[in-house]
Structures are given as structure tokens and as C-alpha cells.
Subunit: 396 residues, 2 copies
DNA sequence: GGTACTTATTAAGGAGACCATCATTAGTAC
DNA sequence: GTACTAATGATGGTCTCCTTAATAAGTACC
């Protein structure tokens, strides 16, 4: 009951409720007729028409040509104007900067990826972020001023206000007001979140964990991490430090990637980013040394995973991150270990979104915030679709 | 956005919304005047009057004599009729059965406690539960038919439907439809929940963690367990198996109580239930052997606690259970260990509700369910206050 | 004891949002 | 060209809320 508003309301509140209801019935679906909307929302046809007309006037909804070939008088059809606003999701990794442009339904319109040097100075990295976003906008035929929101996923500890405390893999990320700095670059709200959490969100909204209420996302790669979705929402924790089970010495997660990166099957001189691939490939082919390395790795992985599963009893655990390209190699031994410990074994799956996970999660995160701003049923009256002003963050 | 209803509504929905708003403004507070209610709910005075009159007619609200001594015409005052319904919370432990009678605001009206034998046969235990509830009702001058709901907290794994899979400390608790069996005893809905989770709820609603959104409750006693409150709600997990970090071998929680129960300072022949008390008391006085035992115990405790804190980043961690009577002894070494591992140290407190924790949590849990039934803003129309029929559980 | 002041109550008028109903319209089927 | 189908558009009614103004019931003070 805690999140329910205490305030009552008048007729306009009811209209707002019904407007939101109509928008929800339209979003991410085929164009709908008034009869369909009336049925979905539970409103009468005349009222539905009223609401749709108002939303059309505001610019949220648009009429499309009627569908032909049916009996009776052709029904007018309406759709949500997902192209009414645009947002950019950014994944700032140590070695890559990815960005994607999306509409209000989260459809990706353009995408870019450019390499980065982990030890690049701050200015260079910030400039690269800006370039990545700009080239996305360019590909989509848009400009900065069309942007409604930018969401950034990056490694490290991020405060609720968008400050970065520190990051293990990006030296320049250290006690940094990233939201503030990017706020000078972009003429809109900038959100910062931990990348593993965003990946978890993407898998829950559009990946292998779609529809699940409680999800544990395990990031396995050159660094380890977790992201939690609890009750369908991204869980940040009181100080936005949730998911850092990697710091628990008993898991051995800090050094776990070494098991795969420096096994005997990795050829001398292999760059670190390709090392684990050799081990995993060899293990897939039955190489004993590689299988041993995989065994040691999954043993450690299982400790942290079991801690999360036993504590939270999620519906599904998703394996993501760089190593998850070899989920077929990692999942069986991991499952085997978990089954010995877990009271109730959750579903266990490899990520289906792969490298784009964080960017997609950033987009989904931004959309959640926009929805909060525009469509929260207990929020202010429904606004016309104009770029939200840069206002203090609402408590989510 | 997942829990928001898609359905729109008509005028009656608005009235329902405002009725709920008024009830929330009245509950658990001093009697209020119309002007106060109007301000709290944001409604106009005439509308507030309308709503209050309707609620009075339904029986949810009652007028009380006006307060004297103020300027101007005395205002009529109204209060929520918390005594309109009653519920019972039960704590079924291995050695004790506690029960408490409460009104709809959660005020405890009567309380009983009677010993039980851990190995008592099922029939005997069920009869003891019934007797406990009956004597509570008797003390409050009520009968079974006044009961609206019974909530039971007990050890072990409880399914969402109220089946008990198994319990380590009560042999008779094994693959048992406890909700069904008690449903034959009580003429109302019976809820079953894990006791650690209910204790966590009580601490969050009325204990040391009041108002916190994310809470980790550590049950330390002859058995170990945890209860989680996430986003203000009791977290059960997909299969209601959340909080079972005790099963993680790396924590050593299964045998941890032994450290305190069988230290050298415990006199020969001490009954097991008193053993740890000797160790803790000796440690408080500086005894080296006892301090060593406490050190070993808190080392294990810290592993599971750190796992929960690192994963969830709670606002506060509450130490409860039998051993928490000596929280002053346990907290300093626990804090010391946690500070070395945790990225952000949460508040760390001993339980303030003590032995009544589970019973109070059961009451709070029952009230949550009743609120869901009567006052959910997206639920059915506001009903008059009559004992809820026994219906299939609504998804929470 | 009477008057001024303060605060609540009650009543009346008006606006907004919903619903049900029915005549009308624009297609397809034959 | 006629029958059928299904959506549209218009009308009137009800409900809930709001604003405003007149009335009522106390306290404070002379």
C-alpha cells in the first residue's frame, strides 16, 4: 500500500485515468478501432471516442487509414504516436561505446558502436559519447533538439543522482558527476545506471525473461556482476549499490574470470579479450584441461548464483555478458551445481539479446522514466507530448 | 507499470478512489474533522462530507463527539471503525504457540502464549492452535464468528497456497495442507506464511525498521533464517522459497548456532534452549572462551548477511530471533566484519519487538490482505464491512 | 447579557465525464 | 439495386465534483 497516492481527485483525474488506459491499450500493438479500445479499456464507445479525440488533439494518438475488406462500415483506426519523441540509450564499456536511437515504444531506429581505450582520459571519453549519440541521431535523420531523454549504462557504482563513485575497468570513472557532465552535452534529462541492472531490465522486458516478476541476471565476462529485477522493477537498493555480490570473498568472483582467461589451452600472446573464447571453445570440444577450467569457473559462479537464488527465489536466472556467448558450455555444469544447493531450482537461460543488452536496457529504462513522467495514473494531468523539461528526478 | 490496471472506469470508480482516500486519511490517526479530511485528501469540503456520509452509512466510519474548547463552531469529528472487524495472528513455533487478537488497525487486544512439545503429533498441535485462538477471542469478549481472518507464521517452507513442504524443527510439519486443515477449524480465510518473513514485516511496519523500503531481517536463534522486505512489501519469491540463504554451505549457517550452544562456558546438562544464553552472557562479561565462540558465530552470520546486503543494498538490517536478546553482544563483531566487505554499510539494529515479532507480523500480514480485499483502489467497489467470504486468494 | 468574531454546516447552481439509446452512414454480399 | 453488417454521430440523462453564499453554533470581550 505504500506507493498508493493518498490524494483524491475530481473528474479530470478520472479522465486522466481513462486516457492512460487508452494509451496503454494502444501502445506496442497494431492500430486499433474504437470498438476494440472500448472493449480493452472497459469504457463505453462514446467515452472512448471522447478520450481518443482528446489524445489526438494533444498529439499522443494518430488516425491511420481504415482497414479494407471487412463487413460493415469501415472503422476508423488509431495508433500510438511512438515517433512523437525519441531517446538514446548508451552503453559505456571499457572497450566499446554503443549507442542506439529509439522511439517511444522502444523500437530501435539506429545503432552505432565505436571502440574506446579503457584508459582514455575523461574528455576523450565524453566526446566519444557525444559523437556516438550524434551519429545515431544522424542515421535517424534527427538532431539533438529532438531528444527527449538519454539513458546511460556503465560499469561501476552509480549514485541515485548520477554520480559515479568508481569503476574497476574505467580509470577515468572516479568520483565523477557524470549526469551533470552529460547534462551539459545533451539538452534533456540524462539518466545513469549500472550496466548489469540495465541488462537485467532488457532481458525482462524483451529478452528471455519476458514477463517474469523476479529475475536474477548474471553478468559473466571479463568482470562479474549481477542485476536484479524484483516485482517487475529494477532493484537499485537504498544507496544504488544492489547486485554487488561480486564483493563477497566467499564467491571468488573477483578472480573467477582468470579461470577461463589463463587456462593452458589459451595460445601464448592472445589478447585478453579473446582468451576465454579459446577455453570455452576447447571445452565445447571436450578438451579435459578446458573442461577443468570451466569447472572451476562455474563452481565460483554457482556460489554467487546460489546466494541470489536462495535469497530471492527468482522465477528465472539469465546468464549474460561476454562469456554467455558460450552459455551452452557454461549452463550444464552451473545447473548441476545449483541443483545440489537450491531449494527450488529456477529456470536457467542464456541471454538472447547478447551485446545489445545494455543499450536496450538503457532504452527501456528511459521509457520507464518517461512513462512515469507522462502516464503515471497518480501523477499530474496528461501533458501534450513535448520534450520533458529538465526537472529534479522523481522518486521512483 | 506491471501492476497497474489497464481498465478504465466510470464515475463510481472515482467515488471509490475518493472513499479509499478518506479511509486512508482516517486510519490509525486521531479522529478528524471534515476540514482536516478535505485538506488531507485534496477534495472539497462538500465532497468530503458526501464521501464520509456514505462511509458512515456503510459502517466503515463513525462520528465521535466534537472536541470542545476551540474557536468557532465545533466541528463534527469522525474516526475509522477499527473495531468493525477482528483478526488473529498465530506464531507456531516448535516449543511455543502464541496468538494475538487485533482490530483492523492492528492494535493488539488480547494475547496468549502456551508451550508446545516439538514432537507433538499433528492433532495435538492443531488443537493447541485452536485453543490459543479461542482463548484470545475469549479475552477480547468475542467468538469465532467475529473473526475476519487468521494469519499463521510458522517455520519451514510454505507454498503460496498454504501447504507446508517441510520444517526442520517440527516433525509433524511435513507435506501438509495447513491452510486447508485450519480452514476447517476457523470460519474465515486462513493465511500461512514463513515466520521469518512475518517478523521482517512487523519490524518494518511497527518496529525498528519502520518506514524503510528495503529491509533484511536476520533471524538468529536455535535455527537461522532471513526475511526480506523489498519495496515495502514482503518478498516471497516465485515459489515462496525466498530468504533461505541458510542452505548455502559457504555461510555455515546450518551449524552456526552450535558455536553458541556448545561452548565451554555452558554448564553441563543445560537444556539446549538456555545454552546460548550462557555463552552470550559470559561474552558480555569479557570471558575469552565465550568471546571466541561469539566470534566464530558472527563470522558465519556475517557471510550470509553480507551476501544479502551486497545483493540488495537494504536501508537497514534487523537482528531478530532468540539470540537477538543479546544484540548488544552480537552487533559489534558483526558490524566489524560487515564493514570490511560491504560497499555501503546499512543501518544495523537489534529487534525491538522481541518474542512478539512473528505474531505482530502475522497481524500486519492479515491486515494487508484485508486492505487488498476492501481498499485496493483498482479493485471492486467499496464493500460494507462484513466478514470477507472465503474466496480463492487474489494474486498479491 | 449582548455584540463581534471565528469556524462549520448546509444549500444551490454549474461544469465535466460518463453512459445508454437511436437514427444515420458506408461499406460488403448477392 | 437491395439486404445486411458494423461503425459513426447526436441526444438526453445521471453522477460526482466544485464554487459560492447564506446560515448556525460556538468563544472572546466589553
Amino acid at each position: 500500500m505504500s506507493s498508493l497516492s493518498l490524494k483524491g481527485g475530481d473528474l479530470s483525474r478520472l479522465r486522466q485515468l481513462n486516457s492512460v488506459s487508452v494509451i496503454k491499450a494502444l501502445r506496442g500493438a497494431e492500430p486499433a478501432t474504437l470498438s476494440m479500445l472500448a472493449e480493452r479499456t472497459g469504457l463505453s464507445r462514446p467515452s472512448t471516442k471522447d478520450v481518443v479525440d482528446e489524445l489526438t488533439g494533444l498529439g499522443w494518438v494518430e488516425e491511420v487509414p481504415p482497414a479494407a475488406g471487412a463487413m460493415g462500415r469501415p472503422a476508423r483506426r488509431y495508433r500510438f504516436r511512438a515517433d512523437g519523441g525519441h531517446l538514446v540509450g548508451v552503453d559505456i564499456g571499457a572497450h566499446n561505446i554503443r549507442a542506439a536511437l529509439a522511439d517511444l515504444d522502444g523500437n530501435v531506429l539506429a545503432e552505432t558502436r565505436r571502440p574506446a581505450r579503457p584508459d582514455a582520459p575523461l574528455e576523450e571519453r565524453l566526446a566519444a559519447i557525444k559523437r556516438a549519440a550524434l551519429s545515431c541521431l544522424d542515421l535517424g535523420g534527427l538532431t539533438m533538439s529532438d531528444l527527449w531523454m538519454v539513458a546511460v549504462g556503465t560499469t561501476g557504482l552509480v549514485t541515485p543522482e548520477g554520480r559515479i563513485i568508481m569503476s574497476a575497468s574505467i580509470p577515468a570513472w572516479k568520483d565523477l558527476d557524470l549526469a551533470g557532465l552529460l547534462g551539459e552535452t545533451f539538452p534533456c534529462r540524462v539518466l545513469i545506471e549500472n550496466d548489469s541492472r540495465l541488462a537485467a531490465l532488457a532481458e525482462t522486458r524483451r529478452g528471455v525473461a519476458r514477463g517474469a516478476r523476479d529475475v536474477v541476471f548474471l553478468h559473466v565476462g571479463r568482470r562479474m556482476g549481477t542485476g536484479l529485477i524484483l516485482d517487475g522493477k529494477l532493484h537499485r537498493g537504498f544507496g544504488a549499490a544492489a547486485g554487488e555480490i561480486v564483493m563477497l570473498p566467499e564467491t571468488g568472483w573477483v578472480t573467477a574470470p582468470e579461470d577461463l582467461n589463463s587456462s593452458a589451452v589459451v595460445p601464448e600472446g592472445t589478447p585478453i579479450e579473446d582468451a576465454a573464447g579459446f577455453t570455452l571453445a576447447a571445452a565445447r570440444n571436450g578438451d579435459a584441461t578446458a573442461l577443468d577450467a570451466v569447472g572451476r569457473f562455474t563452481k565460483k559462479l554457482a556460489v554467487g548464483a546460489a546466494a541470489a537464488i536462495l535469497l530471492l527465489d527468482p522465477e528465472i536466472v539469465v546468464l549474460g555478458g561476454g562469456f554467455s556467448r558460450s552459455a551452452d558450455v557454461l549452463l550444464p555444469p552451473l545447473r548441476h551445481r545449483l541443483e545440489r544447493v537450491c531449494l527450488r531450482m529456477p529456470k536457467l537461460r542464456g541471454s538472447t539479446l547478447g551485446d545489445e543488452c545494455v543499450v536496450l536496457g538503457a532504452i527501456d529504462y528511459a521509457i520507464d522514466h518517461l512513462d512515469q513522467f507522462f502516464f503515471a495514473p497518480d501523477g499530474p494531468a496528461l501533458r501534450p507530448p513535448v520534450r520533458p523539461a529538465i526537472v529534479p528526478e522523481r522518486t521512483v
